[in-house]
Amino acid sequence: MIIMSEIWHPLLLSLKVASLATLFSFLFGVYFAWYMARRKGGFPAILDALCTLPLVLPPTVLGYYLILVVGKRGVLGSWLDSVGINLIFSWQGAVIAATIVVFPLIYKSCRAALEQVDNRMENAARTLGASEFRVFITVSIPLAWRGMLAGLMLAFARGLGEFGATLMIAGNIPGKTQTLALAIYDAFQGGNDLRATVLVLITSGLCIVVLVGSEQLIRRRVHA
Protein backbone atom coordinates (compact mmCIF):
# COMPACT_ATOMS: atom_id res chain seq x y z
CA MET A 1 0.00 0.00 0.00
CA ILE A 2 1.46 3.36 -1.00
CA ILE A 3 0.30 6.66 0.30
CA MET A 4 0.54 9.21 -2.52
CA SER A 5 2.02 11.94 -0.35
CA GLU A 6 4.85 9.57 0.53
CA ILE A 7 5.79 9.68 -3.15
CA TRP A 8 4.91 13.25 -3.98
CA HIS A 9 6.56 14.88 -1.06
CA PRO A 10 10.08 13.51 -1.53
CA LEU A 11 9.81 14.03 -5.28
CA LEU A 12 8.79 17.69 -5.07
CA LEU A 13 11.31 18.36 -2.31
CA SER A 14 14.09 16.79 -4.36
CA LEU A 15 13.13 18.82 -7.42
CA LYS A 16 13.08 21.99 -5.34
CA VAL A 17 16.39 21.26 -3.63
CA ALA A 18 18.14 20.21 -6.86
CA SER A 19 16.85 23.27 -8.77
CA LEU A 20 17.92 25.76 -6.12
CA ALA A 21 21.27 24.02 -5.58
CA THR A 22 21.93 24.08 -9.34
CA LEU A 23 21.03 27.77 -9.52
CA PHE A 24 23.26 28.81 -6.62
CA SER A 25 26.11 26.63 -7.78
CA PHE A 26 25.78 28.07 -11.26
CA LEU A 27 26.14 31.66 -10.03
CA PHE A 28 29.29 30.84 -8.08
CA GLY A 29 30.55 28.28 -10.60
CA VAL A 30 30.40 30.66 -13.57
CA TYR A 31 32.20 33.36 -11.63
CA PHE A 32 34.96 31.00 -10.51
CA ALA A 33 35.25 29.49 -13.98
CA TRP A 34 35.60 32.96 -15.49
CA TYR A 35 38.19 33.91 -12.89
CA MET A 36 40.17 30.68 -13.28
CA ALA A 37 40.02 30.43 -17.07
CA ARG A 38 42.38 33.41 -17.28
CA ARG A 39 44.82 32.60 -14.53
CA LYS A 40 47.57 30.08 -13.99
CA GLY A 41 50.08 29.25 -11.28
CA GLY A 42 50.28 28.62 -7.54
CA PHE A 43 47.24 30.11 -5.83
CA PRO A 44 44.79 29.50 -8.68
CA ALA A 45 45.95 25.88 -8.85
CA ILE A 46 45.10 25.42 -5.16
CA LEU A 47 41.77 27.17 -5.65
CA ASP A 48 41.07 24.88 -8.60
CA ALA A 49 41.75 21.83 -6.45
CA LEU A 50 39.47 23.20 -3.71
CA CYS A 51 36.68 23.77 -6.23
CA THR A 52 36.98 20.18 -7.43
CA LEU A 53 37.32 18.63 -3.98
CA PRO A 54 33.58 17.97 -3.36
CA LEU A 55 33.64 15.67 -6.38
CA VAL A 56 36.04 13.22 -4.72
CA LEU A 57 35.42 13.65 -0.99
CA PRO A 58 32.86 11.31 0.58
CA PRO A 59 29.59 13.24 1.02
CA THR A 60 29.72 12.46 4.73
CA VAL A 61 32.98 14.37 4.97
CA LEU A 62 31.35 17.33 3.24
CA GLY A 63 28.40 17.03 5.61
CA TYR A 64 30.76 17.06 8.56
CA TYR A 65 32.54 20.19 7.30
CA LEU A 66 29.21 21.85 6.71
CA ILE A 67 28.08 21.12 10.27
CA LEU A 68 31.31 22.70 11.49
CA VAL A 69 30.43 25.81 9.52
CA VAL A 70 26.65 26.17 9.73
CA GLY A 71 25.90 23.99 12.78
CA LYS A 72 24.59 25.65 15.96
CA ARG A 73 28.09 26.02 17.33
CA GLY A 74 29.67 26.48 13.93
CA VAL A 75 31.59 29.48 12.65
CA LEU A 76 28.68 30.88 10.67
CA GLY A 77 25.99 28.87 12.46
CA SER A 78 26.38 30.55 15.84
CA TRP A 79 25.89 33.93 14.21
CA LEU A 80 22.91 32.68 12.20
CA ASP A 81 21.48 31.19 15.40
CA SER A 82 21.69 34.57 17.11
CA VAL A 83 19.52 36.09 14.36
CA GLY A 84 17.12 33.16 14.58
CA ILE A 85 18.11 31.10 11.56
CA ASN A 86 18.79 27.43 11.97
CA LEU A 87 19.87 25.49 8.90
CA ILE A 88 20.35 22.12 10.57
CA PHE A 89 17.38 19.79 10.02
CA SER A 90 15.76 22.19 7.53
CA TRP A 91 15.22 21.84 3.80
CA GLN A 92 17.36 24.95 3.30
CA GLY A 93 20.16 22.94 4.88
CA ALA A 94 19.58 20.28 2.23
CA VAL A 95 19.94 22.99 -0.45
CA ILE A 96 23.28 24.05 1.00
CA ALA A 97 24.51 20.45 1.08
CA ALA A 98 23.42 19.82 -2.52
CA THR A 99 24.92 23.14 -3.67
CA ILE A 100 28.35 22.11 -2.39
CA VAL A 101 28.06 18.61 -3.85
CA VAL A 102 27.08 19.73 -7.37
CA PHE A 103 29.44 22.71 -7.48
CA PRO A 104 32.43 20.85 -9.05
CA LEU A 105 30.29 19.52 -11.89
CA ILE A 106 29.15 23.02 -12.80
CA TYR A 107 32.51 24.66 -12.25
CA LYS A 108 34.35 22.07 -14.35
CA SER A 109 31.95 22.13 -17.28
CA CYS A 110 31.67 25.93 -17.29
CA ARG A 111 35.42 26.25 -17.24
CA ALA A 112 35.89 23.74 -20.05
CA ALA A 113 33.18 25.46 -22.10
CA LEU A 114 34.70 28.91 -21.55
CA GLU A 115 38.20 27.73 -22.39
CA GLN A 116 36.94 26.37 -25.69
CA VAL A 117 35.66 29.76 -26.79
CA ASP A 118 37.81 31.08 -29.62
CA ASN A 119 40.07 33.64 -28.02
CA ARG A 120 40.00 35.78 -31.18
CA MET A 121 36.28 36.43 -30.70
CA GLU A 122 36.93 37.80 -27.24
CA ASN A 123 39.86 39.83 -28.50
CA ALA A 124 37.74 41.22 -31.33
CA ALA A 125 35.19 42.36 -28.77
CA ARG A 126 37.94 44.01 -26.72
CA THR A 127 39.28 45.97 -29.69
CA LEU A 128 35.69 47.07 -30.40
CA GLY A 129 35.63 48.75 -27.00
CA ALA A 130 33.98 46.14 -24.79
CA SER A 131 34.92 45.89 -21.11
CA GLU A 132 35.98 42.50 -19.73
CA PHE A 133 32.54 42.01 -18.19
CA ARG A 134 30.77 42.94 -21.42
CA VAL A 135 33.02 40.55 -23.36
CA PHE A 136 32.03 37.83 -20.92
CA ILE A 137 28.30 38.52 -21.05
CA THR A 138 27.94 39.23 -24.76
CA VAL A 139 30.56 36.94 -26.34
CA SER A 140 31.98 34.28 -24.00
CA ILE A 141 28.71 33.07 -22.47
CA PRO A 142 26.70 32.99 -25.73
CA LEU A 143 29.48 30.95 -27.34
CA ALA A 144 29.84 28.62 -24.35
CA TRP A 145 26.24 28.24 -23.21
CA ARG A 146 25.78 24.79 -24.73
CA GLY A 147 28.59 23.27 -22.67
CA MET A 148 27.46 25.22 -19.63
CA LEU A 149 23.88 24.00 -19.92
CA ALA A 150 25.03 20.42 -20.32
CA GLY A 151 26.98 20.82 -17.08
CA LEU A 152 23.93 22.34 -15.39
CA MET A 153 21.78 19.39 -16.31
CA LEU A 154 24.38 16.94 -15.08
CA ALA A 155 24.54 18.85 -11.82
CA PHE A 156 20.76 18.86 -11.53
CA ALA A 157 20.67 15.09 -11.95
CA ARG A 158 23.37 14.70 -9.32
CA GLY A 159 21.51 17.06 -7.00
CA LEU A 160 18.34 14.98 -7.31
CA GLY A 161 20.12 11.96 -5.90
CA GLU A 162 22.15 13.66 -3.17
CA PHE A 163 22.19 11.49 -0.05
CA GLY A 164 25.17 11.62 2.28
CA ALA A 165 25.71 15.30 2.94
CA THR A 166 21.96 15.92 3.03
CA LEU A 167 21.45 13.22 5.65
CA MET A 168 24.14 14.72 7.88
CA ILE A 169 22.87 18.29 7.67
CA ALA A 170 19.16 18.11 7.07
CA GLY A 171 18.48 14.73 8.55
CA ASN A 172 15.69 12.43 7.41
CA ILE A 173 12.43 14.00 8.51
CA PRO A 174 9.50 12.66 6.44
CA GLY A 175 7.50 15.48 4.93
CA LYS A 176 10.16 18.04 5.85
CA THR A 177 13.67 17.12 4.76
CA GLN A 178 13.18 13.66 3.32
CA THR A 179 14.36 13.80 -0.30
CA LEU A 180 14.03 11.01 -2.89
CA ALA A 181 17.28 9.29 -2.00
CA LEU A 182 16.50 9.43 1.73
CA ALA A 183 12.93 8.24 1.22
CA ILE A 184 14.21 5.23 -0.71
CA TYR A 185 16.59 4.30 2.07
CA ASP A 186 13.83 4.85 4.62
CA ALA A 187 11.30 2.73 2.74
CA PHE A 188 13.80 -0.06 2.20
CA GLN A 189 14.81 -0.06 5.87
CA GLY A 190 11.18 -0.11 6.92
CA GLY A 191 10.43 -3.09 4.64
CA ASN A 192 8.12 -1.06 2.37
CA ASP A 193 9.53 -2.53 -0.84
CA LEU A 194 6.75 -1.30 -3.10
CA ARG A 195 7.30 2.29 -2.08
CA ALA A 196 11.05 1.88 -2.48
CA THR A 197 10.60 0.42 -5.96
CA VAL A 198 8.31 3.23 -7.12
CA LEU A 199 10.73 5.86 -5.82
CA VAL A 200 13.70 4.11 -7.42
CA LEU A 201 11.94 4.00 -10.79
CA ILE A 202 10.94 7.66 -10.58
CA THR A 203 14.47 8.73 -9.68
CA SER A 204 16.03 6.62 -12.43
CA GLY A 205 13.57 7.88 -15.02
CA LEU A 206 14.16 11.52 -14.12
CA CYS A 207 17.93 11.14 -14.23
CA ILE A 208 17.82 9.35 -17.59
CA VAL A 209 15.69 12.10 -19.12
CA VAL A 210 18.07 14.78 -17.85
CA LEU A 211 21.20 12.92 -19.00
CA VAL A 212 19.82 12.20 -22.48
CA GLY A 213 18.96 15.88 -22.78
CA SER A 214 22.42 16.97 -21.72
CA GLU A 215 24.06 14.50 -24.11
CA GLN A 216 21.99 15.92 -26.99
CA LEU A 217 23.19 19.39 -26.14
CA ILE A 218 26.85 18.39 -26.11
CA ARG A 219 26.59 16.46 -29.38
CA ARG A 220 24.93 19.15 -31.46
CA ARG A 221 27.61 21.44 -32.84
CA VAL A 222 27.16 25.16 -33.25
CA HIS A 223 27.56 26.36 -36.79
CA ALA A 224 30.81 28.27 -37.21
Binding site: D118, N123, T127, G129, A130, H223
Partner: protein
Amino acid sequence: MLKVHLKKEFTQNERVFNLDVNFEIQKEDGMCVLFGSSGAGKSLTFQGIAGLYTPDEGFIQVEDTVLFDSANKIFVPARKRRLGYMFQDYALFPHLTVAQNVAYGKNGYFVHYIRQELREKVMDVLELFSIADLAPLYPYQISGGQKQRVALARAFSIDPCLLCLDEPFSALDPLLRHKVRSEVQTMLSSQKIPSLIITHDPEDVQFFADTLLLFKDGQVKTIRNFRKYKETGTHITQLLLNLLQGTDSET
Protein backbone atom coordinates in the same frame (compact mmCIF):
# COMPACT_ATOMS: atom_id res chain seq x y z
CA MET B 1 52.28 59.37 -36.62
CA LEU B 2 52.87 55.82 -35.36
CA LYS B 3 55.71 54.89 -33.07
CA VAL B 4 56.07 51.30 -32.00
CA HIS B 5 58.64 49.74 -29.76
CA LEU B 6 57.67 46.35 -28.37
CA LYS B 7 59.69 43.84 -26.42
CA LYS B 8 58.30 40.63 -25.06
CA GLU B 9 59.38 37.08 -24.45
CA PHE B 10 56.72 34.50 -25.34
CA THR B 11 56.97 30.91 -24.16
CA GLN B 12 54.81 28.27 -25.73
CA ASN B 13 55.37 24.54 -25.40
CA GLU B 14 58.82 25.27 -23.96
CA ARG B 15 59.74 27.16 -27.10
CA VAL B 16 60.86 30.71 -26.47
CA PHE B 17 60.08 33.45 -28.96
CA ASN B 18 61.53 36.90 -28.56
CA LEU B 19 59.61 39.75 -30.05
CA ASP B 20 61.63 42.91 -30.36
CA VAL B 21 60.17 45.30 -32.90
CA ASN B 22 61.01 48.91 -33.31
CA PHE B 23 59.64 51.16 -36.02
CA GLU B 24 58.26 54.57 -36.73
CA ILE B 25 55.90 55.54 -39.53
CA GLN B 26 54.95 58.99 -40.78
CA LYS B 27 51.83 60.11 -42.62
CA GLU B 28 53.74 60.43 -45.89
CA ASP B 29 54.78 56.78 -45.69
CA GLY B 30 51.25 55.95 -46.88
CA MET B 31 50.02 52.40 -46.81
CA CYS B 32 52.33 50.20 -44.77
CA VAL B 33 52.62 46.50 -45.40
CA LEU B 34 54.11 44.16 -42.82
CA PHE B 35 55.70 41.31 -44.72
CA GLY B 36 57.47 38.19 -43.56
CA SER B 37 57.09 34.46 -43.21
CA SER B 38 54.72 32.87 -40.69
CA GLY B 39 55.95 33.10 -37.15
CA ALA B 40 58.02 36.22 -37.75
CA GLY B 41 56.00 38.22 -35.22
CA LYS B 42 53.69 40.24 -37.46
CA SER B 43 50.44 39.29 -35.76
CA LEU B 44 52.02 39.60 -32.33
CA THR B 45 53.01 43.14 -33.27
CA PHE B 46 49.38 43.94 -34.11
CA GLN B 47 48.16 42.39 -30.88
CA GLY B 48 50.73 44.46 -29.02
CA ILE B 49 49.60 47.67 -30.69
CA ALA B 50 45.99 46.73 -29.94
CA GLY B 51 46.81 46.15 -26.27
CA LEU B 52 45.83 42.49 -26.19
CA TYR B 53 48.84 41.66 -24.03
CA THR B 54 51.25 43.59 -21.87
CA PRO B 55 54.72 43.88 -23.40
CA ASP B 56 57.75 43.46 -21.13
CA GLU B 57 58.87 46.89 -22.17
CA GLY B 58 58.28 49.39 -24.92
CA PHE B 59 56.42 52.39 -26.17
CA ILE B 60 53.45 52.84 -28.49
CA GLN B 61 52.14 56.11 -29.81
CA VAL B 62 49.43 56.74 -32.40
CA GLU B 63 49.19 60.35 -33.59
CA ASP B 64 49.61 62.30 -30.34
CA THR B 65 48.25 59.62 -28.03
CA VAL B 66 50.59 57.45 -26.02
CA LEU B 67 48.98 54.01 -25.73
CA PHE B 68 51.78 52.27 -23.92
CA ASP B 69 54.90 53.45 -22.17
CA SER B 70 56.63 50.99 -19.87
CA ALA B 71 58.98 53.67 -18.51
CA ASN B 72 56.06 55.81 -17.30
CA LYS B 73 53.75 52.91 -16.49
CA ILE B 74 51.15 53.87 -19.07
CA PHE B 75 48.97 51.10 -20.43
CA VAL B 76 45.77 52.07 -22.21
CA PRO B 77 43.49 48.99 -22.23
CA ALA B 78 42.49 47.49 -25.57
CA ARG B 79 38.92 48.73 -25.33
CA LYS B 80 40.05 52.37 -25.16
CA ARG B 81 42.59 52.30 -28.00
CA ARG B 82 40.10 52.80 -30.85
CA LEU B 83 41.98 50.55 -33.20
CA GLY B 84 40.19 49.10 -36.20
CA TYR B 85 41.50 45.58 -35.93
CA MET B 86 40.53 43.12 -38.64
CA PHE B 87 41.44 39.61 -37.52
CA GLN B 88 42.81 36.84 -39.65
CA ASP B 89 39.79 34.72 -40.66
CA TYR B 90 37.72 37.73 -39.55
CA ALA B 91 36.58 36.53 -36.08
CA LEU B 92 33.00 37.61 -36.74
CA PHE B 93 30.68 36.85 -33.84
CA PRO B 94 28.83 33.72 -35.00
CA HIS B 95 25.83 34.34 -32.74
CA LEU B 96 25.16 37.84 -34.09
CA THR B 97 23.80 39.01 -37.43
CA VAL B 98 25.84 41.15 -39.78
CA ALA B 99 24.12 44.30 -38.50
CA GLN B 100 24.63 43.27 -34.87
CA ASN B 101 28.28 42.51 -35.57
CA VAL B 102 28.84 45.96 -37.05
CA ALA B 103 26.82 47.60 -34.25
CA TYR B 104 28.72 45.77 -31.49
CA GLY B 105 31.36 48.44 -30.94
CA LYS B 106 28.76 51.09 -30.17
CA ASN B 107 26.14 48.87 -28.60
CA GLY B 108 25.47 47.98 -24.98
CA TYR B 109 24.83 44.71 -23.16
CA PHE B 110 21.79 43.77 -25.25
CA VAL B 111 23.75 43.10 -28.40
CA HIS B 112 20.76 41.65 -30.20
CA TYR B 113 18.94 44.96 -29.94
CA ILE B 114 20.11 47.99 -31.94
CA ARG B 115 18.52 51.26 -30.92
CA GLN B 116 17.16 53.55 -33.61
CA GLU B 117 19.93 56.16 -33.90
CA LEU B 118 22.60 53.46 -33.89
CA ARG B 119 20.66 51.51 -36.50
CA GLU B 120 20.95 54.46 -38.89
CA LYS B 121 24.70 54.72 -38.34
CA VAL B 122 25.12 50.98 -38.85
CA MET B 123 23.13 51.07 -42.07
CA ASP B 124 25.36 53.92 -43.31
CA VAL B 125 28.46 51.81 -42.70
CA LEU B 126 26.85 48.74 -44.30
CA GLU B 127 25.90 50.80 -47.34
CA LEU B 128 29.41 52.18 -47.60
CA PHE B 129 30.63 48.59 -47.95
CA SER B 130 27.64 47.61 -50.15
CA ILE B 131 26.49 44.93 -47.72
CA ALA B 132 23.23 46.52 -46.54
CA ASP B 133 21.23 43.59 -47.90
CA LEU B 134 23.21 41.21 -45.68
CA ALA B 135 22.17 43.00 -42.48
CA PRO B 136 19.80 40.32 -41.11
CA LEU B 137 22.01 37.33 -42.05
CA TYR B 138 24.33 35.39 -39.76
CA PRO B 139 28.03 34.90 -40.62
CA TYR B 140 27.50 31.23 -41.53
CA GLN B 141 24.95 32.29 -44.14
CA ILE B 142 27.26 34.54 -46.15
CA SER B 143 30.22 33.93 -48.46
CA GLY B 144 33.92 34.42 -47.73
CA GLY B 145 34.12 37.66 -49.66
CA GLN B 146 31.06 39.00 -47.86
CA LYS B 147 32.51 38.02 -44.48
CA GLN B 148 35.62 39.94 -45.38
CA ARG B 149 33.60 43.10 -46.02
CA VAL B 150 31.62 42.66 -42.82
CA ALA B 151 34.86 42.33 -40.87
CA LEU B 152 36.20 45.47 -42.49
CA ALA B 153 32.93 47.30 -41.85
CA ARG B 154 33.04 46.25 -38.21
CA ALA B 155 36.60 47.54 -37.86
CA PHE B 156 35.50 50.83 -39.45
CA SER B 157 32.43 51.15 -37.25
CA ILE B 158 34.29 52.49 -34.21
CA ASP B 159 35.81 55.47 -36.09
CA PRO B 160 39.30 54.06 -35.65
CA CYS B 161 42.42 56.21 -35.51
CA LEU B 162 44.41 53.36 -37.08
CA LEU B 163 43.41 50.32 -39.09
CA CYS B 164 45.25 47.02 -38.58
CA LEU B 165 44.34 44.39 -41.16
CA ASP B 166 45.75 40.95 -40.40
CA GLU B 167 45.98 38.97 -43.64
CA PRO B 168 42.77 40.45 -45.01
CA PHE B 169 42.82 38.41 -48.22
CA SER B 170 44.31 35.06 -47.25
CA ALA B 171 40.93 33.39 -46.72
CA LEU B 172 39.66 34.33 -50.18
CA ASP B 173 40.11 32.29 -53.34
CA PRO B 174 42.66 33.82 -55.77
CA LEU B 175 40.22 35.28 -58.30
CA LEU B 176 38.08 36.90 -55.64
CA ARG B 177 41.23 38.13 -53.93
CA HIS B 178 42.12 40.11 -57.00
CA LYS B 179 38.75 41.83 -57.09
CA VAL B 180 38.51 42.51 -53.38
CA ARG B 181 41.98 44.04 -53.29
CA SER B 182 40.97 46.94 -55.48
CA GLU B 183 37.74 47.43 -53.54
CA VAL B 184 39.61 47.61 -50.26
CA GLN B 185 42.17 49.91 -51.83
CA THR B 186 39.42 52.33 -52.95
CA MET B 187 37.80 52.16 -49.54
CA LEU B 188 41.00 52.79 -47.61
CA SER B 189 42.10 55.72 -49.75
CA SER B 190 38.66 57.35 -49.58
CA GLN B 191 38.49 57.09 -45.77
CA LYS B 192 42.00 58.44 -45.14
CA ILE B 193 42.56 56.32 -42.07
CA PRO B 194 46.19 55.28 -41.64
CA SER B 195 46.44 51.57 -42.26
CA LEU B 196 48.77 48.67 -41.61
CA ILE B 197 48.36 45.43 -43.52
CA ILE B 198 49.91 42.09 -42.65
CA THR B 199 50.54 39.69 -45.48
CA HIS B 200 52.83 36.98 -46.72
CA ASP B 201 51.54 37.23 -50.26
CA PRO B 202 53.93 39.14 -52.58
CA GLU B 203 50.97 40.22 -54.70
CA ASP B 204 49.48 42.06 -51.73
CA VAL B 205 52.80 43.81 -51.26
CA GLN B 206 52.90 44.79 -54.91
CA PHE B 207 49.36 46.10 -54.79
CA PHE B 208 49.30 47.98 -51.49
CA ALA B 209 52.76 48.79 -50.23
CA ASP B 210 53.88 52.39 -50.16
CA THR B 211 56.18 51.33 -47.39
CA LEU B 212 57.36 47.82 -46.64
CA LEU B 213 58.26 46.59 -43.17
CA LEU B 214 60.15 43.34 -43.44
CA PHE B 215 59.76 41.01 -40.45
CA LYS B 216 62.17 38.25 -39.58
CA ASP B 217 62.62 36.30 -36.33
CA GLY B 218 60.59 38.70 -34.25
CA GLN B 219 62.27 41.83 -35.54
CA VAL B 220 61.74 44.47 -38.18
CA LYS B 221 64.72 43.86 -40.46
CA THR B 222 64.17 46.68 -42.95
CA ILE B 223 61.79 49.48 -43.69
CA ARG B 224 61.67 50.51 -47.33
CA ASN B 225 59.90 52.86 -49.60
CA PHE B 226 58.09 50.64 -52.09
CA ARG B 227 56.22 53.26 -54.09
CA LYS B 228 58.47 52.95 -57.12
CA TYR B 229 57.72 49.23 -57.46
CA LYS B 230 54.02 49.87 -57.17
CA GLU B 231 54.14 52.53 -59.87
CA THR B 232 56.47 50.79 -62.33
CA GLY B 233 54.95 47.37 -61.78
CA THR B 234 58.38 45.80 -61.33
CA HIS B 235 58.05 42.18 -60.36
CA ILE B 236 58.96 42.04 -56.73
CA THR B 237 58.93 38.39 -55.70
CA GLN B 238 62.66 38.01 -56.29
CA LEU B 239 63.35 41.28 -54.53
CA LEU B 240 61.38 40.14 -51.49
CA LEU B 241 63.29 36.86 -51.43
CA ASN B 242 66.57 38.71 -51.58
CA LEU B 243 65.48 41.03 -48.81
CA LEU B 244 64.49 38.08 -46.60
CA GLN B 245 67.84 36.41 -47.16
CA GLY B 246 69.64 39.68 -46.65
CA THR B 247 71.47 39.48 -49.98
CA ASP B 248 70.02 42.64 -51.44
CA SER B 249 72.49 45.48 -51.63
CA GLU B 250 70.27 48.07 -53.25
CA THR B 251 69.35 50.96 -50.97
